[in-house]
Symmetry: C2
Subunit: 336 residues, 2 copies
Amino acid sequence: MRVRLRDLAEGLGLSVMAVSKALRDAPDIGVATKARVLAEAAKRGYWPNEAARSLRVKQSGLVGLLLPDLASEEGAMVSGSLAEAAQEAGIALLVGVARSGKEEAEQVRAMMGRGAEAIFFLPRISTEHRSAVLEVVGRAGLPLIFFKRYPADVDGGKGKVSWVVRDMGGAANLVLDHLHDLGHRKVAYLGGHPAARSSAEHLRGMEEGVAARGMVMLGGVQMVGLEAEGGEAEMKKMLGKKERPTAVVCVNDAIAAGASRALLAAGVSVGGEVSVTGVGDGALACYGPVPMTTVCFPSLGRVGFSLWRKVREGKEEMKPEIVKGELVVRESTGKA
Amino acid sequence: MRVRLRDLAEGLGLSVMAVSKALRDAPDIGVATKARVLAEAAKRGYWPNEAARSLRVKQSGLVGLLLPDLASEEGAMVSGSLAEAAQEAGIALLVGVARSGKEEAEQVRAMMGRGAEAIFFLPRISTEHRSAVLEVVGRAGLPLIFFKRYPADVDGGKGKVSWVVRDMGGAANLVLDHLHDLGHRKVAYLGGHPAARSSAEHLRGMEEGVAARGMVMLGGVQMVGLEAEGGEAEMKKMLGKKERPTAVVCVNDAIAAGASRALLAAGVSVGGEVSVTGVGDGALACYGPVPMTTVCFPSLGRVGFSLWRKVREGKEEMKPEIVKGELVVRESTGKA
DNA sequence: CTGTTAGCGCGTTCAA
DNA sequence: TTGAACGCGCTAACAG
């Protein structure tokens, strides 16, 4: 069925080694022989057995990505950019989804078993303190790169562990600058749970930014989930209160979309009476309830992959990357 | 660094075979020995080298997924459900993105080189006639399962090639039933390019369904792209014409979201004056411009994976799967 | 129940 | 420039 080096060698009356060298474009092989081998290989549809190859050379050319969900926008963005970067570099990508610490450990073991040279990891939102992945991978001495979130028990840069996260504090300040310019002073906040590091960073950015600009923050809400449903529900509650903000800053696009939906349902014009902002610049930002002012970030997957490559080639040490965002102004914000 | 069977064997004063058997839970190994081996393996953090294993047993427990883009909603849905199904079955998933026939062939060769036991393939929208993947994979005699679209030069079910597609004609009829019940008679159509098989199926369902119900189709538009931008632009054009439909049927959610945006921008209430429908039930359907009436389909990845498993275990022959959708009614449709 | 032999497909080493 | 021997880590088949 499958053609081996030996099959080619026998067909050509050569040794296995000669064929191997020809196919790998080794220096010590005759030009004529090489041409014959290449032709035969193409004709018979040969392709190398990577299992055998990596057993021998002890390099697999393979990395693993572990995440809670590929179908979510978050997972899709990270995996998409990582897959592209890997493809361009000729590195294969093994993907595993896991919804619990147990599954994470299993998947990571499977990846290591298959020879993954590094593990890229987008942790679940609730995994902030300890991580089975960190233990398993760390013990093996494999490079481990966290995306977006990372557990508390990790020494960044030390050894082979690092992370690529978004500058959420900076994102808060970009938005506050914009809102301040538009004349907003009273802003409400819809954030994530502060146990999550990136949510905490965003909240810190908000608190400091609001204070520095002489603005006030009305009823900051820290939600456990980060979904549109939550934003919609919280916004509804907020509309019942006496004092209304002129702007609502949200920690992500989904929550902002939910909040916009609630405002529109109550007959409040988004971008007119009340401004709303998100973070992420995903599909909902462009074609959600209202074209959304938000903060756009470069693809973390690409950043993480190129970090690993540099480390692999010895060009750089492992170090955390804090990626800066950019403000994208659309119609969900307007003059106060 | 990495612990091998031999290391465990030496540490325990056993043969490599005994350790191998103990770890694989073979029947012919002593209980006490097994316990000792398991303890030692856990202590030293052993995990098997799958490259060596699959070289020996000639099974990799690995499948490949090839798609044009992981970050798109389409890619995310397919890959997410396939990854979940694979994870549950203990099969590893290799993911490759490719934007051209050349890249597709390269990626597929890499996957086969790594021992992929099957290739799952979500083709680019424009690949409808010939496919390099089909040739490369077909030649190797590997199972090949297309998602959503498949090229013209393929014999479904024959041999090891199959596909999992959505019943788009059925989707059109579900929507038309609903609109007809609401009293709509004049519908406009925003479809995809008819060279794409699923778009053609949807169009056919529309034409037959409209005729069968005594409805009329105003200005059917076949767009080349399937993005929201296109839907928005086409809807704007349509609003300029004298005769207006009471409902706009779209071939997917993105186009429907774009069309809704254009209608709202023109002051037309969606679900009131004009009804709009999509297909897909993705994020834009729930939190797009208007909560959308659409057609929801089961995850194709799961369906495709379980098809392959049954074939692999000899329980079933390869056969195409046409997946039926379900109508989801939201606020974008109302009485005519 | 445990160990020995052999070899999966490939590449490194070194001799011809 | 070419090839023979050997071994990567594992397991099937058999022997003890």
